[in-house]
């Protein structure tokens, strides 16, 4: 492998690692937000159910 190939590999790897890590953080943020909304929906539902019991 020529030394230029190593140079290209190095910079490509660096870009992939940094952007990949960024993607991981953003995806996890999305998941946490979705979970948060889910939680809020279920608490709102249960709170409403408590206020107006079906029976």
């Amino acid at each position: 492998m020529s030394s230029i190939a190593f140079l290209k590999l190095a910079y490509t790897a660096a870009w992939i690692i940094y952007l990949g890590y960024l993607a991981r953080i953003l995806l996890r943020m999305k998941t946490v937000e979705a979970e948060r909304e889910e939680l809020e929906r279920t608490t709102a539902k249960s709170a409403a159910a408590l206020k107006h019991p079906v029976s």
Binding site: F6, Y11, A14, I25, M29, R36, E40, T43
Partner: protein, 228 residues
């Protein structure tokens, strides 16, 4: 969330792009090693950010043990993870630089070995955080972080002595060993840009950590109220 994602992607790509452009196109070709020397800009800058992050982790851990604030714990977690990533890039780029220039992927010389040990210590910190069950992860992790950072000078000294006794090929000259002005300028630029890059990553990861903390306490609240 969308806005945050777009801003951070643009910012990070811009920082990587500018530094890559300067490192690959603007900086002059080095006389002895040729173009492959350009790896050096990313290699050293990543290392610098990694070490900075580990220091932030140390300070944040002490603050956490003292103040017990969620924010300092989030910062400790964020800086450790970002530090491991950047230090990992340092190690990887180091091997990719070593092979064409020195003919070997790796050698147990003082600098490389010290960096590897440091990286291992902070990986074990992250493993401890991941595998801790129960609500006291933060305290245990913070205590461990102090051990880890206190070890840094000892690791450095002992490996340096070991390598004085048993010399082996040294990878690459020192970062400041007689750099031509053009190279020095690009190096400084990359260093500053990477510091900003590191700060952006730590801030993002910190935000994620605080969000996860909030989610956890929201779950706890809901469980208490008996509604979830």
């Amino acid at each position: 969330m969308k806005k945050l994602a777009i801003t951070s992607i643009v910012l990070i790509v811009a920082l990587l792009g500018i530094t890559s452009y300067f490192a690959l196109a603007v900086a002059p070709t080095e006389a002895t090693m040729g173009d492959v020397q350009r790896i050096f800009y990313y290699h050293v800058s990543s290392g610098w950010v990694g070490m900075l992050c580990f220091f932030v982790n140390f300070v944040a851990s002490i603050v956490y043990l003292w103040k017990r604030s969620a924010a300092s714990d989030a910062l400790a977690e964020a800086s450790a993870e970002v530090g491991v990533v950047f230090c990992g890039v340092l190690l990887l780029l180091g091997t990719l630089w070593a092979k064409p220039v020195w003919g070997i992927w790796w050698t147990w010389d003082a600098r490389l070995t010290t960096t590897l040990v440091l990286w291992l210590i902070y990986v074990s910190y992250l493993v401890l955080r991941r595998f801790s069950a129960g609500g006291q992860t933060q305290v245990l992790a913070a205590a461990f972080a102090i051990f880890g950072f206190a070890d840094v000078p000892i690791v450095y000294m002992s490996i340096r002595w070991f390598r004085t006794q048993h010399p082996s090929p040294v990878i690459g000259g020192g970062a400041g060993s007689g750099m031509a002005p053009a190279i020095w300028h690009v190096f400084l630029l990359t260093l500053v840009a990477f510091t900003i890059l590191g700060a952006v990553f730590v801030w993002l990861r910190y935000k994620l950590a605080t969000q996860e903390q909030a989610l956890e306490s929201a779950h706890a609240q809901a469980a208490l109220k008996g509604v979830a």
